[in-house]
């Protein structure tokens, strides 16, 4: 049996032909178009155990704990997702500088996810904000446990503890963020879409140097995001990027997605972006 796909005979039926749709005119390969493989009756002398368990159930359970933990500390958490090089860290640095001017007493912190290096956390710390770098090693995404571990090490968590853990009986006003936690995920438009970290919202950052069809190429991520931020808009005069078309594509995969245009470099659009962050909608 072929170890890659489980097809019966890899020499007679190459795996590519067994489950890959090939576009005859272009030769494009589409994995995932194959017919459903259905189950086969079991063997005698065996016990059947019904699980019907969500594979991501354990992550989702920890994410729910994170969400409750954030709420008890008055923390609004955002999960920033994008491809590498969209300007997530630059946008965060610009956001932190903006908040220093306009909301100097707002507690905030950053969890930085990358496979390797603490470069991004170092950049955040240079602004004076606290940051924890999470290196995922070979991993392609942050999971809820990583965020739980990192949150426990942040000043944001300790600061809130000074006011008493849990705030028993105290209802927070969720129309206005009391403190912000930015979780900068590993630069990857595929895998982080599936992992709930306990965030209030996933925010997909797309830079205008990338091409307006990214939402169609990576639909799972844009379907999971509540907000799409188009970054590097200062470069629009030099590019062929079609903003209305990009928004149309994003709404094809997610009719409810909100859109903001910013330039982390010039500061254009930062006021609306910060306004969005400070007033998370349920």
């Amino acid at each position: 049996m072929c170890v890659v796909c489980g097809c019966a005979n890899p020499t007679a039926t190459p795996p590519e032909q067994a489950h890959v749709a090939v576009n005859a005119s272009t030769g494009d390969l589409h994995y995932g178009a194959g017919a459903a493989r259905v189950s086969v009756p079991g063997m005698s002398q065996a016990r059947a155990i019904k699980l019907e368990a969500d594979v991501l159930g354990e992550n989702n359970r920890i994410a729910a704990t994170n969400r409750a933990h954030f709420a008890s500390h008055g923390v609004t958490a955002y999960n920033l997702v994008s491809s590498p090089g969209s300007g997530k860290t630059t946008l965060l640095c610009a956001t932190i500088e903006f908040l220093k001017q306009h909301a100097p007493n707002l507690p905030l912190a950053v969890i930085e996810g990358d496979q390797q290096t603490s470069n991004d956390a170092d950049r955040i710390r240079a602004t004076g904000a606290s940051a924890i770098q999470v290196n995922t090693g070979k991993g392609c995404h942050l999971d809820a446990q990583m965020v739980a571990d990192a949150f426990g090490r942040l000043d944001l968590h300790g600061h809130s503890h000074a006011h008493g853990h849990g705030h028993a009986g105290h209802a927070h006003d969720h129309h206005h963020a009391e403190s912000l936690l930015f979780i900068e995920n590993v630069g990857n438009l595929v895998c982080p879409a599936m992992w709930d970290l306990g965030e209030a919202a996933k925010i997909a950052i797309l830079s205008v140097t990338e091409g307006e069809d990214k939402p169609l190429k990576y639909p799972d991520m844009f379907a999971a995001a509540k907000l799409m931020v188009l970054n590097k808009t200062d470069l629009l005069p030099y590019l062929d990027f079609d903003v209305p078309k990009c928004i149309e594509y994003a709404r094809r995969v997610n009719p409810g997605i909100e859109v903001l245009l910013v330039s982390a470099k010039t500061g254009a659009g930062l006021d609306a972006w910060v306004e969005w962050l400070m007033h998370p909608q349920d």
Binding site: A36, S39, A46, A48, A53, D54
Partner: protein
């Protein structure tokens, strides 16, 4: 390659079941990975082959059901079938649709042995 993490999650679910039900090996595992679940089934098989040696899943036959995607079309006010999140409504051609099925990724059941 998040399928490797998912394969690890599948092994953990099976090992948790083993701790509860005290079996020795699994001969047959049935999974469900919906068309809109964000899972590449071929990569998931590859990952399961990589992580199952040394566990009770070693040598198990693994079947993966792939339920089709379904969505609610707001314009048609009807449930429709889609193959991917970028598909338009097959009836009206619009994109005002929200996935309602085919997003699940679950371990359905397993056949276990004590020998």
């Amino acid at each position: 390659m998040h399928e490797l993490s998912l394969a690890g999650g599948i092994v953990k679910l099976v090992e948790d079941a083993q701790a509860r039900d005290h079996f020795k090996r699994v001969s047959h595992l049935r999974l469900e990975a919906g068309a809109l679940a964000g899972v590449e089934v071929r990569a998931l098989r590859f990952a399961l082959d990589a992580v199952s040696p040394g566990t009770c899943l070693e040598g198990a036959r693994i079947d993966i059901d792939e339920p089709a995607g379904t969505a609610w079309c707001m314009r048609c006010a009807a449930s429709v079938s889609i193959a991917s999140r970028t598909d338009p409504c097959p009836s009206c051609g619009g994109h005002q649709i929200q996935p309602t099925g085919g997003t699940e990724l679950r371990v359905l059941d397993l056949l276990v042995h004590n020998d």
